[in-house]
């Protein structure tokens, strides 16, 4: 017993197996390689999102295969599709229910700018209601484009001060129930 306790203390025998790094680098590495998406599939872009997740393109290669339909378990909201004004509050509420740190990818022309829907019914870009980290162009973007967007987001996360993301919610919190 006594011998075992000694192993927990400094031990020259395991010295070579220890990696020294910065907390930011380690935390960001973990974060960026297991980003669980919240698939906000609202229109045709969602089909490409599904293609991105399935075998041919396989988003699992980048650690983002765990699509979570519970916002509590999601890290990145992928807004894939046309956000109507009627849907916009729901998108915002789901975003609010995601735990920090959280990110948003606007996938496709509609989510980014309203796209071809210059009309009375469509929100002209999801960045009017949630902060967007990466915009992916295309109508719809090919799965490669979405993967590229995800890689861009991973790079962006890698540059962040990891702890700065925890508390900050950009706007007042909303009550959990619908008004």
């Amino acid at each position: 017993m006594a011998e075992k306790k000694e192993e927990l203390a400094y031990d020259t025998k395991i010295e070579g197996d220890i990696v020294v790094t910065k907390a930011d680098a380690a935390i960001n590495w973990i974060r960026s390689h297991s980003m669980w998406p919240m698939p906000m599939g609202l229109a045709c872009c969602a089909i490409e999102l599904m293609a991105t997740a399935s075998s041919r393109f396989d988003i699992a290669r980048f650690g983002a295969e765990v699509m979570r339909f519970s916002p509590r378990q999601a890290d990145v909201m992928i807004v894939a599709g046309t956000v109507t004004y009627k849907m916009a509050p729901a998108v915002r509420r789901i975003y609010d229910q995601m735990a920090a740190p959280k990110w948003v990818i606007a996938m496709g022309a509609c989510a980014s700018t309203g796209g071809m829907y210059r009309s009375y019914a469509v929100l002209q870009g999801v960045d009017r209601i949630v902060p967007v980290d990466v915009y992916v162009s295309g109508c719809p973007p090919r799965p490669e484009a979405l993967l590229d967007g995800l890689l861009k987001l991973q790079k962006k996360v890698g540059r962040e001060r990891s702890l700065s993301r925890l508390g900050s919610v950009e706007s007042p919190r909303l009550s959990p129930t619908h008004a």
Partner: protein, 204 residues
């Protein structure tokens, strides 16, 4: 085949008149005869399927609103189009047929949502596409494609984000393709593409 049904209907319903149509028989029906005519069409003439309910806004003309019903007979494989003019231009109203054809429920809600036509006797006449507090009727002629500014459906989200329902920046659109001319020049385009919501539209 086509006109026979109208003749037979005219014998029973004095107000029914034939209506110009390029395909299937069509008729005009006075608004007060519509509930009786609808019941007869379904029960006696075998138009058991209501395919569509929509409306036309004639803008300046009066009567301004015409509700259009498309009926299909599953037995006889024929369509029939019935147009009912709404007598009041300000508050158009016709009798609901949702009791006869259950499918009319949602179709009439859509027609109410888009044109503001009320359906008397409808079990739950509320908007179906736009949210309930939306103040306009988007398919009326005076309503522009871009829409008019109003509030988001959810007040809390509106307060938290500062977002509004805005008139969509048309950027010179809507884009239409000219019918004439060589293909290479027939791309859909708007006249002036310089204006956005930040650069106001130049005065003509």
């Amino acid at each position: 085949m086509s006109e026979e049904i109208i003749v037979r209907l005219q014998e029973r319903f004095a107000g029914v008149t034939p209506r110009e149509s390029l395909d299937w028989p069509a008729l005009n029906c006075p608004v007060e005869q519509w509930p009786v005519l609808a019941a007869a069409l379904k029960d006696e003439f075998a138009y058991t399927f209501l395919a569509d309910v929509t409306a036309v806004d004639w803008n300046e003309a009066s009567p301004r609103f015409t509700v259009v019903y498309h009926l299909f007979s599953v037995q006889k494989h024929v369509y029939l189009r019935v147009a009912v003019d709404c007598p009041d231009d300000g508050e158009p109203e016709v009798t609901s047929v949702s009791g006869l054809w259950p499918t009319a429920d949602w179709h009439e809600r859509e027609t109410y949502d888009m044109f503001g036509i009320r359906f008397r006797g409808h079990p739950d006449l509320k908007r179906i596409l736009m949210w309930e507090d939306y103040p306009y009727f988007p398919l009326r002629k005076e309503f522009p494609l871009a829409g008019w500014e109003t509030d988001l459906p959810d007040r809390e989200v509106a307060a938290a984000t500062g977002a509004k329902v805005i008139g969509a920046p048309m950027m010179g659109g809507p884009f239409v393709a000219p019918h004439e001319g060589p293909m290479s020049e027939r791309e859909p385009r708007g006249g002036d593409e310089t204006w956005t919501e930040k650069n106001p539209k130049p005065k003509e």
